[in-house]
Amino acid sequence: MILSELYDYYQRLAANGQVPRFGFSTEKISYALLLNVDGSLIDEPLDVRDTSGKKPVPKMMTVPQPEKRTVDIKPNFLWDKTSYVLGASGKSSPRIADEHAAFKALHERWLADTEDPGLRAVLLFLRQWSPERFAEFSPAVRESLLDANVVFRLDGEHRYIHDSPAAEQLRSRMLAEGDATSGCCLVTGEIAPLARLHPAIKGVNGAQSSGASMVSFNLESFTSYGKNQGENAPVSELAAFAYTAVLNHLLRRGEHNRQRMQIGDATVVFWAHAATSDQAEAAELAFAGLLDPPADDASETAKLRSVLDAVAKGRPLRELGLNLEGDTRLFVLGLAPNASRLSIRFWYTGRLDQIARRLADHYLDLELQPPPWRSEPAVWRLLYATAAQGKAENIPPQLAGELTRAILTGSRYPRSLLANLIMRMRADHDVSGVRVALCKAVLTRDRRLGVSGVDLELPMSLDRTNTDPGYLLGRLFAELENVQRAALGKDVNATIRDRYYGAASATPASVFPMLLRNVQHHFGRLRKDKSGLANALETEIGQIVDGLHNAFPRSLRLEAQGHFAIGYYHQMQSRFKTKSSVDPVAIDETDE
């Protein structure tokens, strides 16, 4: 269904002219060769790059679609890089002569009997051009011209030769003449010539720069029934072109493209299908805002809050006045690179109000008092909490896709999320608010979905009446650390959290008796200076140990370790809520 939905989206966009039509694609062009009618070059090649920024940026132009070439020599029609067009390249290789010859041969074949002045000019130019003449250009031009893409323009005309009607006619003849076998396309269901290779998809972070393929069969073990390349999955050339063109359009880089975002290792693209294109755009912006709330834009945050509130109260989105319709269909596709291939991390379609409700549930599950963030955290920020040293490349693989899928479909969070968080907290002793909130979210959602074995109601803020052993032990650990800090002063290098957090949360019976014995020394010291504080802490510890009844548990299960972290966080935050100076639990407010 992924390809057919992309194909439908292509049709809608092509009707507005937002994507190139069949046989064309947008490519980066740097220079245009100006030709006279007799094929001679006028002046130097014209620089068409965008020079507004610091570096000149090649212009994106719609040109005849390039052939997919990995090792073969396949020239493009009426444009190409300089090694094909002029026979000159920055890297010296014996292929350049062959490439230039192939370019000339292609144009000899197709332009031989044309009468259009522009096309004749190209033909005559190629006949009289020799690669040595490249040295005639000025040094400045020569440097940036090498290996850049060039197009042709006839002197006196505004448009490029490949845009002229004669060239387009020739192009459609070229496309019609193909030796592809016909068959039933699995995207459209029609009998059409089938694509052998699908065009490349560029723009996925981490993939090959020359483009990756979503549908590819380049190794033997990927083929079936002895079939070769595209025969393994019959997709018509038009459908293959359509879905790759629309994916390249969705993945285009730029500030104005709000249809893509990066979540962990997955590049997520999304689009909406609504009655009007304005509504579709509004829906896409709303979805982007919900999944990736902007941390600094107050008006955007307010809009997002209003959407979440409306959904929570069950009111239709139409009433918000943001041009949103509840039944707009939204399509979300998560792509991750794997060498020269694209892996589909998740695919989700649903109505806008459904998605808004699921995201509202997600934020509700995450909610923690006091909140460790100023505005709702985006998914990618949550993932950074699971990474060692907070680096993006250390995010466990697959977790990004699974977490996003869980959020969008409303199913359980991935089990590995809880395990990873507990492991991270033990490894770097950082019980941060985001990590605790995620633990709570996993456990709360499991309980809400009725997973057997999970029946503890997890409090959002400190709950002194909760008798779950994991929660109580977390609170106890926090209080013991507070006593130590109070006794030894604020600049303690390493508290019991740095030394004993892992052991305390995993095997309490082995650690807590020793900790309780040692805390008496700290109490002794504390009673001399601040006896009021000592009394308060002692009563609190007494109350917690009371709740533990008989003995400390020998070991805690993964869920109970999650409760431990939540109890620790709650107790810590309540103790230091009024004091703004020492804050042992770092509040995660900065953008990573």
Binding site: S221, G226, Q398
Partner: protein
């Protein structure tokens, strides 16, 4: 259906691979008729009969999961296997994964259960003592006992299926309430036409209250 059967199959995971997403596998939302035929053939098949799948009932909601596995990039060629058979030794017949590793992610279905409604037809290879009743009895007996030639699988061999014969209407399981709507599933693989150069055939699938009607397999027609 006079010679029809109903088989309840279920499993923890399933991957009915889309042909176009074969490398990084993505499963169809529901079971394909060719996978259903594969399950039935695993229980009972003879050259005399050909299974025809009529309907598939989806019992559990459609849930996906993504897993990543290490696989190999090449296949052993038939020629090298033939050589080994002739030589009587398997010395050179080895693929070392360290040299040819490919990591492939797969989006598979989770917790699936289906009821397959099918019947079989006698082919040209049916002999004089082959009759529909005889094969139907054999199938029913084997399905009741849990007998099979090889463990039936849900799309790919690593996801094995458990099966149980649905004897009568009373024992027919009902689909999850979430599935009691109609939805369009797009073009789905019907089966591979082995008689026509392994061409895949597709059909437009739609699910109504959990039921997917499978049209008859048009062999050589488009």
């Amino acid at each position: 259906m006079a010679y029809g059967i109903r088989l309840h199959v279920w499993g923890e995971r399933a991957c009915f691979t889309r042909p176009e997403m074969k490398v990084e596998r993505v499963s169809y939302d529901v079971m394909t008729p060719s996978a259903a035929r594969g399950i039935l053939e695993a229980i009972h098949w003879k050259p005399a009969i050909r299974w025809v799948v009529d309907r598939i009932l989806v019992l559990r909601p459609v849930r996906f999961e993504s897993i990543r596995r290490n696989e190999v990039g090449g296949k052993l060629s038939a020629a090298s296997v033939r050589k080994a058979i002739k030589a009587g030794r398997t010395d050179g017949l080895v693929t070392l994964v360290d040299e040819d590793r490919q990591q492939r992610a797969a989006t598979v279905l989770r917790d699936v259960a289906y009821v397959i409604e099918a019947h079989f037809e006698l082919t040209s290879k049916a002999g004089p003592d082959d009759s529909e009743g005889k094969h139907l009895d054999i199938f029913n007996r084997r399905a009741r006992k849990g007998q099979c030639f090889h463990t039936p699988c849900l799309g790919t061999r690593e996801f094995s299926a458990s099966f149980e014969l649905v004897e009568d209407d009373a024992g027919m399981p009902s689909p999850h309430p979430e599935l009691l709507t109609s939805c369009d599933l797009g073009w789905m693989l019907h089966d591979i036409d082995f008689a026509d150069g392994m061409t895949p055939r597709f059909f437009r699938a739609s699910m109504k209250d959990g039921w997917i009607e499978v049209p008859p397999f048009r062999g050589t027609a488009a």
